[in-house]
Subunit: 337 residues, 4 copies
């Protein structure tokens, strides 16, 4: 932490800032700069709250140096976290693919799509049983019945599945059925839910919030790890910007940036970012090229009849073609870990 | 809903789109434009999901016309909703002020601040017992004990209080003690929590999500109303943008824009948007001028020792001075309802 | 400047960074932190380019401490810059208002509107002769003829006028006729134009770029001042965000934030931010409350027939009413300087 | 264009809107919807200005249907524009690479780097002679002398070069020396410069503005084409968002989205978006995968001594390795045109 004093700050101001730092148990070291004095806070354990010093007389700004995260940090654990689910391995340099429909609609639907994505090479199935919808009047998912449909599809195909949990109430049911529990973008900072996920025995997919900074996202993962669950898969799914030609702006730069900060696996969901099929395919190829630890793609056997997000779902044969290209590109790019 | 066809769309494409619309039970009417044909969807009840038609052959875009919200809409209920809590009235053209510390720290602290803000003219007290914090290592609030401190402060001063609820588990406790239940910005689309709030007998303050559009915010309120609770107070608290000189960008334009769409009262929280005291005061004055139905301001008797957000908390005498100015400006601006 | 080393940086890495700093003529001082070493760059004149040190082995980040601007800085010139144009005074604690149509359409139009806004109390007239338009097919303004219409309106009413310049070619003509030369939002970083403005004998209104940070905006003003023109008026006009209910998001927080950094006068243009009349009025009142050094408002006598931006132009009687309220609110808020 | 009436709009309001539409020479057709009436504007030539109808009594919103661009539109010219410069072909499905240093520093520097990038397979050289810099105190480029250095490097290596023009004054000199003239992100809506570029006999690289929508970007290209120059190469280089882990957010989704709208070639500059070398490489691979018509990469033989943007410049051997991967990935992705 660096407390930067104003140009005209008096000796008194500087001393008061030093006292305030020391009163909180830190060591303060004034550093004379070109135009002004800054005060370094030394030998602190963990991060210091900038707000304590921001309102003091003569203080211009307070700059954080130490990052506030610990367990997720690559500085603390340099080797990559590897998470295995069925035949999928996240974090070992391969590119496992999670695929399936946006929403679970019927037993037949999930079995049919699960077979198709398995045939194309997907290692994990996905489908929403509890659906977070902007409108209370939209289809909210089949709930526990949907979980059972998914379990049945697993029985038929051997594919493990991931599905979203929306609240603590339904956590036990989701955890019991699913192989991977997903926390959605709107719940990235639902801290009660994060703590519950931290007590789960299942790996967690933590989607990035719509306007979360990398640091906030990692801190959300820290909540889960801090409660004892080390198996967190981070999933970039697009952020909200001024842009109108895609539903969200897929922020692929976060993959290399996050890899430097954390040992957790990082996957990409181009389907939700794009919102339309024609953008999903190129963005999926780009995700394979950038060195992600996995990709999540929505597929539907009859997209035009889908109950949710049909426009962004690929047809099974588009998906099969995409799988081949993604695998080849990922091998060429060669950026595992 | 308007389905816009590409310039080169064939008669066949157009007919297929018409069929797809009619198959879903709507009436389709083709409209020849300058360069292309659009197809209007007529006499639909409620909103239509654009995604159904976006991927069809020859379709260029799909444009929503009808807004998806009902109960919150001013078109359906033109008269303003008025919510009374103690002496505060939200929505009747007055400017009730909610004030208090960010976090409840001790019994003495809340009583002392409650007395100060009451003396300055605040009608509702506030304080966080359950604190949503970005870091699991930050102070998380005193929980139920904090609620009891707040209740005791109410006893001493007569001020009703508002406090945040973070999950369904603690909803009964919060609801029992607090006069107004607040849902925070990170939970604006925690739909399970919204549904629970819809069953509450308390008025709800619904803070706008960090990157929520006006429509998403209103739809979140619709979730609450749809479950039976008509008493929702919307609170603008700053949105996330590229800007770095303030913590968030207070979007005051949302007040007049939202007033045209909804009958629900709209209040502004400049403290969280600003992040620093020197910006809170001018933004609070601007909030009074823009015609808000209330303002929420953080006050602390010793900001430099606050356990949370001290830098944005006003000193009691700054607050007292601000109250006078806000009241006078609001009277002058004269935009109630 | 602070060069922050990675946790595992070796002594060798640190020494290499120190050498790199010293090779560029700065003084380096290593500062041991809680987890890592940072290296302060001391006694530098002016700002240091972070990029030089960002790619070095073992370096985690580079943090700027000293601000890069000089002439615009309040630390260098604490007293407010005061700019007088006719009866308007920008920067002395009053609230001069600049008003007129978006585009100059005819001689009659500008005279009629100039009379109306003068009667309502505006001190400066405005009107666009050269119009920056997103489309080459939109009306591009009357050019030099428009300047002559404006000069004639000044003759008739005594009101000085401000108008936009779009390029160096037309700078002499604009400068000759106008009392204040405006640089538009799209040209905020047209550095050649800024340098030309720096050689002008007229005061310059510098509109904030659509996505300019406060620092970039001040650096643009620094370009003008550096060439010798000290009379720069900064104008906030809304920034681009994800928001869709207003054309741009008026960032009122920039007013108090900028006032701490610079001595230059700061005005607000709510018309372009809002895009619709119903938002202009409340945002103008908020601008008066927040302590701006002036406000710029579009007015048209027949908005529904305006050639440009009619929807955001006020009717003359709306403007007259607004003027009274703004003046009273500004007096109450009392934040001059 | 669709004029949407409020739910409670009277017959009179509707008739007034119809009259207003017809007075401007368009045909109006009322369309009764579920809850409200909308009025279609039919058979208009070109786009209609929404602002004309937005302020009318009873009008809720005005929705554009027809896109405002013509010459750049793929609907008007379906076949891809192909631009040849030396051995580089933009728009034919290949992936030409433009490479070189950010700034021209000396004759030796440009020759050395030009040789290196040519050896690695780049087809076009780049280097800045006129540099747009945020600060007036930063190195502003060698100007015309820099152009001569670049011309000499072309002589030595046979590589054509691209360089930025910042104003009309220097356009003739840039145009005379350079093979491709670049308009930078800060000048994307410098309409005077765009018009001048439209009269040039050189191909133009038009960088996307920092917060430009796809439509604004295409309209800027329309300015150039409208003046007679059909050879415009669009270059995505990152947009400004709330994100802080990269300098800008590279918006790769714009490539597939823009390809549907325009026939002009689309290239990507990952160097400026990333700001740091470690992100440039993965983003460049992603750009190759997404189907761009070219990539622009900064390379410097001694990045740590570069006068501008050293941290984002690749070392020549990194670049050579990247070239191989990009070429292979582009071939695999197979999305030319």
């Amino acid at each position: 932490m660096l407390v930067v004093m104003k140009k005209g700050a008096t000796e008194e101001n500087i001393q008061a800032a030093v006292n305030s730092i020391e009163k909180r148990g830190y060591e303060a070291r004034p550093i004379p700069g070109g135009d002004r004095v800054s005060i370094g806070i030394l030998h602190n354990k963990g991060s210091v709250d900038a707000a304590h010093f921001m309102g003091l007389e003569g203080v211009k700004e307070v700059i954080a140096v130490t990052k506030p995260y610990k367990l997720v940090s690559r500085e603390i654990k340099p080797e990559k976290t590897v998470i295995k689910v069925g035949n999928a391995v996240f974090g070992d340099g391969t590119l496992p693919v999670i695929s399936g429909p946006c929403a679970v609609e019927s037993q037949e639907q999930v079995i049919e799509i699960a077979r198709a994505v398995k045939a194309a090479g997907a290692q994990v199935f996905r489908g929403g049983a509890f659906k977070p919808r902007t409108s209370p009047y939209s289809f909210q998912g089949h709930g526990v019945k949907g979980l059972e449909f998914l379990a049945k599809a697993r029985e038929e195909t051997g594919l493990p599945f991931a599905t979203e949990v929306m609240d603590i109430e339904n956590f036990p049911a989701v955890e019991e059925h699913a192989d991977i529990v997903q926390i959605g973008t709107r719940n990235m900072q639902n801290f009660s839910l994060l703590k519950r996920a931290g007590k789960s025995f299942r790996p967690i997919i933590l989607k990035r919030g719509m306007s979360a900074t990398l640091q906030e996202w990692l801190m959300a993962a820290e909540y889960i790890m801090e409660e004892g669950n080390p198996n967190v898969i981070l999933c970039e799914r697009g952020v909200r910007t001024f842009v109108r030609h895609s539903r969200n702006t897929l922020d692929l730069s976060v993959i290399p940036a996050a890899k430097k900060e954390t040992h957790l696996p990082l996957i990409v969901d181009p389907s939700h970012a794009a919102g339309v099929r024609d953008q999903v395919i190129p963005l999926a190829l780009a995700s394979a090229a950038i060195g992600a630890d996995g990709v999540m793609i929505e597929v539907h056997h009859k997209p035009e009849e889908a109950m949710s997000d049909g426009a962004q779902s690929l047809y099974p044969d588009q998906f099969a073609d995409l799988m081949k290209k993604m695998t080849a590109i990922h091998a060429l790019a060669g950026q595992g870990s």
